[in-house]
């Protein structure tokens, strides 16, 4: 396959905003040179919009309009593009502080300050719970957990496991109560936890997770509201790129989802501080 043919195949991913970085840039450059691909992307983008229109409309808070009306009154507008470029990038580039008015600039500052205030709320709550759990409860949890060790999914063959994993993750993300939270992993990588309380299932997707030394493994945990830790499977870092693991066992609303580094084979209760944890509510 030529490069151009290969790029053409990215039309669907591009329309869904699923391309990132260099690949997106390469595709956009290619778009300038291919009328056929532009037409395809246009029709697929229209289709994506229909998916958007199928989402239930929700009235925004009443005061948002008033704030926007006040904001636009003092926000300058951009001039039209000098020439109509043959691209589909009808959506303008991300607004940078340099490009916007002082009024907007200050509001953008306020927005990011507000965001900072809530940064990693889930992770902080999780940390508080993790570190406050009493040792006595841990022992009880370990005893309770021992009963369930036979029920985990570690014995499945690789092929089976991949299919089950794909089906489980897809079910989670398609659930009407699907949620996700992202957090940095101590030691490297970014973890995205996805879950559905209705399905009692969760999974984690980690970019750039480092490989562990021999004799160590990553282990997943559910920690409930009473700080009982339940093992939810062990896994190793993928040889390249993205590591994915579905947590075994049943998740409950409000559980904290976490990962520790444990001796090979896993532990009955966490023996180290979590490298990442988020609270699901």
């Amino acid at each position: 396959m030529t490069d151009r043919e290969e790029l053409h195949l990215l039309s669907g991913a591009y329309a869904l905003d699923a391309l990132e970085g260099d690949e997106k840039a390469r595709f956009e450059a290619y778009l300038l040179t291919s009328e056929e691909t532009r037409a395809e992307v246009a029709s697929l983008s229209d289709t994506v919009v229909l998916i958007g229109l199928s989402t239930a409309p929700v009235a925004p808070p009443a005061d948002l309009k008033a704030r926007l009306m006040a904001q636009i009154a003092v926000t300058p507008q951009r001039a039209p593009l000098p020439t109509a470029r043959p691209t589909l990038s009808a959506v303008p580039a991300v607004t940078t502080p340099q490009q916007i008015s002082p009024q907007q600039d200050s509001s953008a500052g306020a927005v990011s300050a507000a965001s900072l205030g809530t940064t990693s709320r889930a992770a902080k709550k999780a940390a508080a719970r993790w570190y406050s759990r009493p040792a006595s409860i841990l022992v009880a949890a370990a005893a309770a957990v021992a009963l369930f060790v036979g029920g985990n999914i570690l014995g499945l063959s690789a092929g089976n496991q991949s299919q089950q994993q794909a089906a489980a993750i897809s079910a989670i993300v398609s659930a009407s109560d699907y949620q996700q939270a992202k957090a940095d992993v101590t030691g490297g990588g970014t973890a995205t936890f996805v879950w559905s309380v209705g399905l009692k299932q969760s999974a984690v997707v980690i970019d750039k997770l480092p490989k562990l030394a021999d004799g160590k493994t990553y282990q997943l945990w559910y920690i409930d509201k009473s700080s009982n830790a339940t093992p939810a499977g062990i896994f190793n870092a993928a040889s390249s790129g993205t590591t994915v693991s579905v947590l075994s066992g049943a998740m409950a609303a409000g559980d904290t989802l976490g990962i520790t580094v444990e001796p090979s084979g896993g532990s009955k209760a966490p023996t180290t501080a979590p490298i990442v944890a988020v609270q699901s509510a």
Partner: protein, 201 residues
């Protein structure tokens, strides 16, 4: 409350060819000329769509509100750059809304503060807007029906990308398939949806 509200008038209307949307395009032209009242009218018309979509992706109410605000400011600032020849106003605006929500998901800082609430996405008994009624519409039924025509892998890939905001390499890892397969499934899945939904190609 979830309530099915069929709007028969929508059934025969392609979203890109309705009077209503011609109005949105006209409004955008007026906004490009600095018309603040036109901006207010456009906001009234489409903000529930924009906010509903962004909240479906981000879940968190406060963040969804922030991103909605950013999107409408962009509409104000860039209205002059909207080109009707390249698509309807709804396409322009909802594409922007989806992209901004995804930007928010992917930025590592805000990814972490993507809040976790017990938010029932589609069945919001709306605690913030008591008077607000969440409707499922004809579009919802049509898209659901079209989605059911996809293969399982196509549907999974499209869902993870669109609603989860995952990149195609993340989708590949999540579905345990090669990245090349995800590329083609996203493409042939979207082509199938396009054809099922009768979007002009």
């Amino acid at each position: 409350m979830l309530r099915l509200v069929p709007r028969e008038t929508d059934r025969r209307q392609d979203y890109q060819s309705t009077d209503k949307l011609a109005t949105k395009e006209t409004l955008l032209a007026q906004i490009a000329g600095g018309d603040q009242a036109a901006f207010g009218a456009l906001y009234d018309e489409i903000s529930p769509r924009v906010f509903g979509l962004i909240r479906r992706l981000l879940v968190d109410h406060a963040q969804s509100e922030e991103v909605t605000q950013e999107v409408f400011l962009e509409i104000w600032q860039n209205a002059s750059r909207y080109e009707p020849s390249k698509g309807g106003a709804s396409t322009w605006i909802l594409t922007m809304a989806h992209r901004r929500a995804i930007d928010r998901i992917r930025s590592s800082q805000s990814g972490r503060d993507r809040d976790v609430k017990i938010g029932i996405r589609d069945y919001v008994s709306d605690y913030d807007n008591v008077a607000d009624t969440v409707e499922t519409t004809i579009e919802h039924e049509r898209v659901k029906e079209a989605m059911s025509q996809l293969t399982e892998l196509q549907r999974q890939a499209v869902t993870l990308a669109y609603y989860g905001g995952f990149s195609h390499s993340e989708v590949a890892a999540m579905l345990s398939v090669p990245i090349g397969t995800v590329k083609t499934r996203l493409r042939d899945g979207m082509i199938r949806l396009r054809d099922e939904l009768g979007v002009a190609s």
